[in-house]
């Protein structure tokens, strides 16, 4: 009897193993889930991640910051204003429709109507269909970042989104608030089809059987994304085997994950710079470059990376990280307390002064702790800091009002290009053009001039020189207090081969993920 039972059990196990060998379920725990299924309604990291899972862009970033063909198989520059893209043939949407040039044009035109994206698309003139599998994308002026922008051109299924929904509203309406077909339904060409979505609870996807990229090694057949807000819970979910992948990993738990036998920590350098800006319109002393230099010299950003970030960030002395055109090797961190004190004395502030400082407490990794450390460090050169930290929901209005003398801001360049940092953070604030939207008041006409010139310089060498000059000026001017570029960290199970699918943009390409 016992033997029989064993045999039956054995057969059962073999059968069930065989059945599960083909199906790989992948569970991911993130701090938040995508806000909708419409890739064009909100420009945020979470939405772009989803876009890479459910849709495909014309091209995408590789790990070494190059472009990889996706829906576009090749491209060529016809003239200063035109880039021609040749599109992939035989690609199907989830709905069964065939992907052609009209979908690219349709998606491009729709994107221009989106409040979140239209700023990014400002330099573009339009998308023109040449034939079913060729489009020309034209810019208003010579524009060096057409390919960078093509990473945003996700193709939506134009037929699927055309028409009206049961409320008589166009299916492709871009709505921030209210019901819209596109917010709750998706048809892309991407590796995964959304099967179930409960906002803030779960997002379930299954692999698209007719996915065009048959060379992809990816073997995830079911993909379940759960938002797990609380850091400790997210880490526990990974350690307990409840999920295969978590992100972000709180720095204080790195050691715990590294020491575990079943999970590992995977890191990649990211491009988000964390800075403090000094407002010269509020504090007379900040107009003096020596005072600004003193502050930059007083801040031990290497120490902050080591102690507070537990090594999960790269110390910065300029805006753009290594790999960006403007990156200048010679610009190095400047912590030197003695020099900082000397500079304060030279500027006539040896007795120091008092300032206010604000920072968010739930926006960047350890943001409030970084601010506290900074306040303390400035105390050493006689600057008394009154620090206030608050949730991001309140912080950004304070930032808009420039409500404190020093304010924290982190920035990631949408275009993965150095120029973008200066456009938003360092150009003289100008309400009309929108430049300097997040600048606390630093203003140097030369920086403006160079940034604008770099926008339409297509010669890489000349452009590099311009962008590097900007970084040098900002360094010499001590225009802002640089801290670090945040790394992206992922905690994954040992059998999940995360390394090949991650990138500096934090868009893990789960379609290509291999689970052993």
């Amino acid at each position: 009897m016992k033997k029989l039972l064993l045999i039956v059990l054995g057969i059962f196990m073999v059968v069930s193993f065989a059945a599960s060998a083909g199906a790989k379920t992948f569970k991911m725990g993130l701090d938040a889930d995508p806000v909708s299924l419409d890739p064009q309604v909100q420009l945020s990291g979470g939405m772009l991640q989803l876009s890479h899972w459910v849709f495909d862009p014309l091209v995408r970033w590789t790990q070494d910051m190059d472009f990889e063909p996706r829906l576009a198989t090749s491209w060529e520059r016809l003239d200063d204003l035109t880039m021609r893209f040749h599109l992939r043939k035989g690609v199907k949407f989830h709905s069964g429709n065939t992907f052609t040039a009209k979908d690219v044009k349709w998606s491009f035109d729709r994107m221009r109507k989106s409040v979140d994206f239209k700023g990014l698309l400002e330099p573009f003139d339009g998308c023109y269909i040449v034939d079913d599998y060729t489009v020309d994308i034209k810019t208003k002026k010579a524009y060096p970042l057409v390919l960078n922008m093509a990473t945003y051109f996700f193709a939506m299924d134009s037929e699927f989104y055309t028409g009206t929904d049961e409320n008589g509203q166009p299916k492709d309406a871009i709505l921030k608030i209210g019901e819209s077909f596109a917010l709750n339904n998706a048809s892309g060409t991407g590796p995964f089809i959304v099967t179930n979505r409960q906002h803030n609870v779960v997002l379930e996807m299954k692999r698209f059987a007719d996915y065009w990229d048959t060379n992809s090694p990816g073997n995830v057949t079911e993909f379940i994304l759960s938002p797990i807000k609380e850091n400790a819970t997210r880490v526990a979910a990974l350690l307990s085997g409840g999920v295969d992948w978590i992100s972000p990993v709180p720095p204080q738990d790195f050691a715990r994950i590294q020491s575990d036998d079943e999970v590992k920590l995977v890191n990649i350098n990211g491009g988000r710079i964390i800075t403090f800006q000094m407002n010269p319109n509020r504090v007379e002393a900040f107009k003096d470059v020596r005072v600004r230099q003193a502050i930059v010299h007083a801040v031990n950003n290497e120490g902050i990376v080591k102690q507070i970030m537990k090594g999960t960030a790269t110390v910065a002395a300029q805006q753009g990280p290594k790999g960006y055109l403007g990156y200048k090797e010679t610009l190095t961190p400047r912590y030197d307390l003695a020099k900082a004190k000397a500079l304060m004395k030279e500027a006539g502030y040896e007795n120091g002064f008092e300032i206010t400082m604000m920072a968010p407490n739930n926006r960047y990794v350890n943001d409030a702790k970084i601010a506290e450390a900074t306040a303390q460090m400035l105390g050493r050169i006689g600057i008394k800091v009154n620090l206030k930290t608050m949730p991001k929901a309140q912080y950004w209005n304070e930032f808009d009002a420039r409500a404190a003398d020093m304010m924290m801001i982190g920035w990631h360049s949408d275009t993965e290009d150095s120029g973008n940092f200066s456009e938003f953070l360092m150009m003289c604030p100008n309400a009309e053009t929108g430049y300097g939207q997040y600048n606390s008041g630093y203003c140097n006409p030369r920086v403006d001039e160079l940034t604008i010139a770099a926008q339409s310089e297509t010669d890489v060498e000349k452009r590099t020189a311009m962008l590097q000059e900007i970084e040098q000026i900002l360094y010499d001017d001590a225009a802002f207090v640089p801290f670090h570029w945040q790394n992206h960290s992922y905690g994954v199970k040992k059998n999940v081969r995360a390394q090949p699918v991650i990138n500096a943009q934090n868009f893990p390409y789960i379609g290509d993920l291999v689970i052993e």
């Binding site: 979140d116 609870v201 997210r234 929901a393």
Partner: protein, 328 residues
Amino acid sequence: MFAFIIRRILQAVVVMLVISLVVFAIQKEFGDPVRDLVGERVTPEERQQIADKMGLNDPFFFQYARFVKNAVTKGDLGRSFLYNKPNLEVIINHAPATIELVLGTALIIMVLSLPLGVYCALKPRSWLSRFTMSFSTLGVSMPVFLTAILLIYLFAVHWRILPSYGRGETVDLFGNGIWMTGLLTIDGLKHLILPCISLSTLMLPLFIRLIRSEMMEVLETEYIKYAWAKGLSPRRVWLVHAFKNTLLPVITVFGVQIGIMFAFTLLTELVFQWPGMGFMFLEAVNRADLSLLIAYLVVVAALFVVVNTVVDILYGFINPTVRIAGTK
């Protein structure tokens, strides 16, 4: 009874009006909900246009009047910015998770506190009583947050016998998508265990102590002495004469505490990523979803009044000597 209920309803209306008025008055302090809806590139003018469309720039009394009008005439409590659905629908979707959590906790509390409390009163010197009492002190003094994390690390990470987050597999109770229940699946029940235990650590000691002291007090009363003198069996004296009278204050407290427990689910739900109303509330605060906040507070106020009213009525049934004010 009728007058009593009418009075309670009127009280509830006033409470709800005041709460919504207060939240409307301080809404600017919560932050700007538009920020959460747009990317960093969107210009201030465009943000203002969105805020205009959402009616956030109208004078506060105007907004308040509109809210009250819609609530009274259409039963419409507005629309959540975060979930992009009518507030009432969002709240109703999140309610089952919390209700099941509170039910499970209430069950644990009842099953454990009644026998333990009575035992501690009857045998105050036994080692079990001493252990229970000292353990309950520990339970009261430990924050729920810590208990929850400790439980997760022990049962989910270390021993790996229970899941650490979420509700697990749920099934549709009525087939209309409103009540997704975790009570009918093994997986769902497993997910319920840790959150319920951690939530119960707060109230369980309180009830053990309450039942114990009430019972001890009752045991000293004249009529119990009389019962002993009559020569009734200890079983009858303890369970019928003493226990029944012990229950009266316990039920009142239980009613109030169940209401309070809904509030305490906040932390438990956060730690266990439990998709209930407490979690929803925290999200609404974090993301400055004022519309949902106001609707939620109004619903909670209504709920509190209902629960208290029901308890008062029940109380009247159990103890006929207590007459509800307003009845003759």
